[in-house]
């Protein structure tokens, strides 16, 4: 009797597992993990794929919204080579770490250079580790400057101009000059790097040497920490993306450093700043170019994949222009393919994409290194210390550089 009940339960579970839309019983299942598919873009892409490829089942595991939590889930699964995920849907900063640990298959022979040309250059650079390609970009992302078109006629080009305009227009606490991500976390590094690059400095040079302790870097950090309490609220040192967005979207800031996702939210009906915002590349000092920190997601192929060919067929399918467009239209994802920025349908829905394209072309990956998490931590701690006045910008840069050297030297 008891046995029978268990058997029944087992059958019921098996049935439920296969009953999910258009699955073929017995066909290999390839899985990947992403945040919850709220827009339904993945479901549409997967059902299209399965209709065209009845011999493969694709399963999206809808994981936690936190990027770090999903990185940990992939890390645990891939280090155990348990075969849960044949496809690794990954953030650009995971590439060196995952590749260096031998968790990913090189995609060099699968995606020829001619094909790579069709993607945004920064996304391809961020997908490459030690000369090999490990990721096919699906959606792009980059930091940028939002501004209020009703207050600012022309976006500032230099850092000085930005601070001066912010100071002139602000009326705190109702209206602050500028908000950005100032909490001690990964977002702070993204914001800092853009300023650092705009001042012509960098963390590592082309050969991987630490060049962070330059006079330009000190000037960059001096400028950034000078904003706090002057044109940026004192609380900016607790802000993540959403905190900054809330202030800006409620009309309490002239400028904001943030990612493209804000655009759709700030422009929706009911938003106090709808129709009053513009985007521009981050400023720079005269003689330099404004830079953007590259974000974005793409597909890797796990070395422990049980069905690598099936997994690759899905990756190749999902990264086609049509599918990237679905993900854009359903969830606002920014395509990683250049051609889509000239697509009439996308341009009609998002006319600002011509501005965005310029920003994305200038996007640069964060230091590409398997120990990036440690490098990032060293930068976070000392930039945070400079922002709250616990260290002078000079000290902070020196100590951060020294720590990064220690991490790389080990």
């Amino acid at each position: 009797m008891l046995m029978k009940r268990w058997a029944l339960l087992g059958t019921a579970i098996a049935l439920m597992a296969t009953a999910a839309c258009g699955k073929t019983a017995g066909a290999p299942i390839v899985r990947f993990l992403d945040r919850p598919d709220t827009g339904g873009g993945w479901k549409e892409i997967i059902s299209e794929f399965e209709a065209a490829n009845p011999d493969i089942n694709v399963e999206l595991v809808e994981g936690p919204a936190s990027t770090n939590a999903r990185e940990d889930m992939y890390s645990l699964s891939l280090s155990a080579a348990d075969g849960t995920y044949d496809i690794v849907y990954m953030d650009v900063i995971w590439v060196p770490k995952f590749a260096a640990r031998g968790w990913l298959q090189s995609l060099d022979h699968r995606l020829p250079p001619v094909e790579r040309e069709k993607f945004l250059p920064g996304d391809i650079r961020g997908s490459t580790y030690q000369g090999s390609l490990y990721r096919v970009p699906m959606r792009s992302d980059a930091g940028m400057l939002y501004y209020r078109t009703d207050l600012v006629a022309k976006p500032p080009e230099t850092f000085e101009e930005l601070a001066a305009t912010a100071r002139r227009l602000q009326k705190p606490p109702e209206l602050w000059g500028v908000v950005f991500q100032g909490q001690q976390y990964e977002g702070l590094v993204c914001a800092f790097l853009e300023v650092l690059w705009g001042f012509g400095a960098d963390v590592l040079d082309a050969d991987g040497n630490v060049v962070l302790d330059s006079p330009e870097a000190v000037r960059a950090l001096t400028w950034l920490s000078g904003l706090v309490g002057d044109v940026a609220p004192g609380g900016v040192t607790t802000y993540q993306e959403e905190d900054a967005r809330h202030l800006f979207q409620e009309g309490h800031a002239v400028f904001m450093r943030n990612w493209p996702y804000v655009w759709t939210l700030a422009q929706q009906v009911g938003s106090p700043v709808a129709g009053k915002i513009g985007i521009a590349p981050m400023p720079h000092v005269p003689g330099q170019r404004g830079a953007a920190t590259l974000g974005g997601w793409g597909f890797g192929l796990a070395k422990s994949a049980r069905h690598p060919e099936a997994a690759w067929r899905f990756i190749a399918f999902a990264t086609q222009p049509e599918q990237q467009k679905i993900l854009h239209l359903r969830g606002g994802a920014i395509p990683a393919r250049r051609d889509l920025f000239r697509d009439p349908e996308i341009l009609k829905a998002s006319p600002y994409y011509s501005d965005l394209y310029r920003i994305l072309l200038a996007a640069r990956p964060r230091p590409v290194h398997p120990k990036y998490a440690q490098i990032s931590n060293a930068i976070q701690v000392h930039v945070s210390a400079a922002l709250v006045g616990a260290e002078s910008p000079d000290e902070a840069i020196k100590r951060a550089a020294q720590e990064v050297r220690g991490i790389l030297g080990r």
Partner: protein
């Protein structure tokens, strides 16, 4: 038969505690030297010790006060006792999120109250300054765990025979003397218990800080547990993480045992 049960329990404990612990300690064996030259560990250990000292001493004082109040007989005492437990019953991550909002610089309740009471002229970034952020996590922890101390001490108070107080009163002792000569000595086992538990939990604090500040600003609220999480998960260094965990677990045990014994020991003197 009874030995059979003991053996079963022993096997279970060995499988789920002793073996994994041994594997972790041996796995980190070659890294113990690094632990003692780790500058970051020194910094986070200092933060953790300061946090444990500040939060646990406040909790013990307040807990004792609340326990004494709740021990008195008054109308609706049962309901008040239940209400006093609510902070302890809330999931830490949820209540930490609420504290984060309370301390928000532009729309938080803390700033709103402070401005209305004219304590400050404009909003303060509570979680955005090293000292204030540290005070904020101590406050949140005190709010959350004082009920735990209260409950243990209340149980201790209830086990003290009434006759002792009556006898003292007959001998002419005032309330302060009764507290010093009867309550405090007889409460020491409970105090030792609460102290031991609280120290272990305070040294291992993770969720509250992770949600409220993430360890910032400038690492001012980064505790040992947050650092070990970084080493293990973000940096992907399981061996070093195991060594760190071993050292920290031993240190926690020593601290808790020492203070626990101190609190208990004086009772015999």
């Amino acid at each position: 038969m009874s030995y059979g049960y003991v053996a079963l329990a022993a096997v279970l404990l060995i499988c789920v505690i002793a073996l994994p612990l041994a594997v972790a300690l041996v796995g980190g064996a070659t890294h113990y030297g690094e632990v003692f030259s780790d500058r970051e560990l020194g910094k986070v250990a200092f933060n953790t010790a300061a946090f444990a000292f500040a939060s646990v001493s406040l909790e013990m004082c307040l807990g004792l006060l609340f326990a004494i109040v709740l021990h008195q007989t008054f109308l609706l005492r049962g309901i008040v006792r239940a209400i006093a437990l609510i902070p302890w019953a809330l999931p830490t991550a949820v209540m930490a999120m609420s504290w984060k909002w309370i301390f928000n610089d532009s729309y938080g309740v803390a700033n709103d109250l402070a401005i209305r009471l004219s304590l400050v002229g404009h909003g303060i970034a509570w979680l955005g300054r090293p000292g204030a952020a540290f005070a904020a996590i101590v406050l949140a922890d005190v709010w959350k765990t004082t009920p735990f101390v209260t409950i243990i001490l209340l149980a201790g108070l209830q086990s003290i025979p009434r006759d002792l107080y009556d006898a003292m009163s007959i001998d002419g002792a005032g309330p302060l003397q009764r507290f010093r000569l009867v309550t405090l000595p007889l409460l020491r086992p409970s105090i030792a218990l609460a102290l031991t538990f609280r120290l272990i939990q305070a040294i291992g604090i993770f969720d509250l800080v992770r949600v409220m500040t993430g360890g910032g600003p400038a690492d001012s609220t980064k505790t040992v547990a947050l650092y070990i999480y970084d080493v293990l998960i973000s940096y992907g260094m399981p061996e070093y993480g195991a060594a760190l965990t071993g050292v920290v677990a031993l240190a926690t045990f020593l601290v808790a045992a020492t203070f626990g014994a101190l609190a208990r020991g004086r009772a015999r003197a």
